[in-house]
Symmetry: C2
């Protein structure tokens, strides 16, 4: 295997955390952004939690209510037989609700393998377009500050947001960078031909589907000049949906992107190599996944059989630590050599 | 009625046009952008056409193929009983195809009521992301040139594109301004607080749906800082989907936008008034539609019971000519007084 799982896996489990709300339970701690700060490795972890219900005949969905001008966490409940919970992650009632509330917490490590998770949320839903919470952050140190790109779910759609920080205590919130439905947005670590560039994953309702696109920006807030980068490969491990992971990595051979693919059941990790000057041009792509759900913490969780990486730390020119979610429940890690992956892609 | 239909309606019908491809038929000429140029009123009309099939047991879908590097118009055919044509606008086979090919033509008038349509397309699908054709243009004269924003359908999703022209003969193509799925993008006629602004209509796959949003841009190509403007009103004429029409009109009371709404069956025209300084703030909105499908050319066509306006010309401070599609088949026109609509909205 080119990708070597850490033997400490899973690095973070729900039972390492206290819920942020009394009487609730933490269901998952996964899909983290990753970065270096003050000699430590930091993770910005997606945390999902839900109220514990006494009555098994009821189902609940948490929602943030800003109608009074204040942030209020509310819980909607329904008799179980009056709603559709075929997919237990969602409650399909008058509209679709998320069965859990999402927020982000920080975790810190000196070795990249043993993490201490902060006891309270650092970022959470703060407005009506985030009323189902925020998730799946990407973190990149760019031009003397950390850019944080995260996804917000709301009753009005899935949007992508930009924030920055220098100290991980105060944040500057920049607004929505992609309207519904888009997610899996990750930057390239430098400007390309004078503009910032990102990969993103818009969703097609009628034609098309969940493919990999890129966009350019003069300022990180406004995005355009979108190009289609890569499409699903029907019948393969990335036949149903694909999307990018963390930032792309600059190599002499091109931009190396560890991306996720799904065959409609499982989520896998693969790699794609993009032209340095025109990253909409694909040079090579792994035919087989580099990482597939195999360990217990990847196979059984909140959503089974998922490995999903949206955070990495480049420790040297060649060595990368990948941080990934297992089964939408656990945070895990692995290491990989860039040259090994390039050899596979170009060999 | 505040909106007075022209007695010359419909202004353009499919039988006024020759097909652009021998052996094909023109099915619709509708949903036009509108503008003033050289003392005339111009329309940039959506034209849909399809091959005439000899065999009633077959269905066809036209598609543009750029795989050789050349633009090739191809027609895919299937036995009728092997595909889903429940909605005759689409052929649902391995993926969803459009049953017609879309292009844009110019039409000219000296009085705004009698139009002559040019015999050939002026803009059409020119790349793989436009392989199902282009449609629903918005035209605005802005800073000494015409900006054209149009929608392209493709097997990779619905995207929105920007082009400019000064002479309606040569065009500068700027690229994709909104990735899938977005459409119904129309500018405000001037910068707001230093940035260009547009209304747009992203589509939500999971949460949310077809609501009215706005975005800002420093340069018309890159868009961000998106805000939700208005949502569907369940049970009303705009309960299922809403989207903007042509450019918003500056009035002393706010930005006046003639927008479309659907109750899931019919498409209607209504009006919404937005704050001059913060157009994401709604001041007023019509409770009843201003225009509903009523005439034959609005009730029976390629898709029945539709009025859909994406073009207008402001003839004076108060007088506006609205150009709208009827039943996805005809181009029609109407006049309206801005002060009448403001009185209704604020009365």
């Amino acid at each position: 295997m080119l990708i070597k799982r850490f033997e400490q896996n899973p690095l973070i489990s729900p039972n390492n955390l206290s819920p942020s709300v009394e009487g609730w339970e933490v269901v998952g701690t996964y899909n983290c952004g990753a970065f270096k700060y003050n000699g430590k490795i930091g993770l910005l972890v997606r945390v999902i939690e839900r109220p514990i219900l006494d009555d098994p005949d009821k189902v609940a969905a948490p929602i943030l209510d800003f109608s009074t001008g204040e942030r209020q966490l509310k819980v909607k409940t329904w008799p179980r037989d009056e709603v559709d919970v075929t997919d237990p992650r969602f409650v399909k009632a008058d509209v679709i609700y998320d069965a859990v509330m999402n927020h982000l917490r920080l975790a810190w490590s000196t070795d990249g393998k043993h993490f201490e998770v902060e006891p309270t949320p650092i970022l959470q839903g703060e407005n009506d377009l985030q009323n189902l919470g925020i998730n799946d952050p990407r973190v990149l140190y760019l031009e003397d500050e950390y850019t944080i790109i995260y996804t917000a779910n709301s009753l009005w759609g899935i949007t992508t947001w930009l924030a920055t920080t220098t100290d991980w205590e105060t944040f500057e919130h920049k607004g929505v960078i992609f309207p519904p439905d888009n997610k899996d947005v990750a930057l390239f670590p430098e400007k390309i031909n004078g503009r910032y560039c990102c990969l993103h994953r818009p969703a097609g309702v009628y034609f098309g589907g969940h493919d990999l696109w890129l966009g350019y920006s003069p300022d990180l807030l406004h995005w355009g000049d979108h190009k289609l980068v890569a499409t699903r490969r029907p019948g393969m491990w990335d036949g149903e949906r694909i999307g990018c992971g963390a930032e792309s990595l600059k190599t002499p051979e091109g931009w190396l992107q560890f991306y996720h693919g799904s065959d409609g059941t499982n989520y896998y990790l693969g790699a794609i190599l993009l032209d340095l000057n025109d990253p909409s041009r694909v040079i090579a792509r792994t035919n087989e996944p580099l990482l597939a759900p195999q360990e217990d913490y990847e196979k059984v969780g909140y959503y089974d059989n998922v490995v999903f990486c949206n955070g990495l730390v480049r420790l040297s020119e060649d060595l990368v630590y990948l941080y990934y979610g297992g089964a939408d429940k656990y945070t895990a890690g692995a290491e990989v050599s860039i040259s090994d992956v390039l050899n596979l892609l170009l060999g």
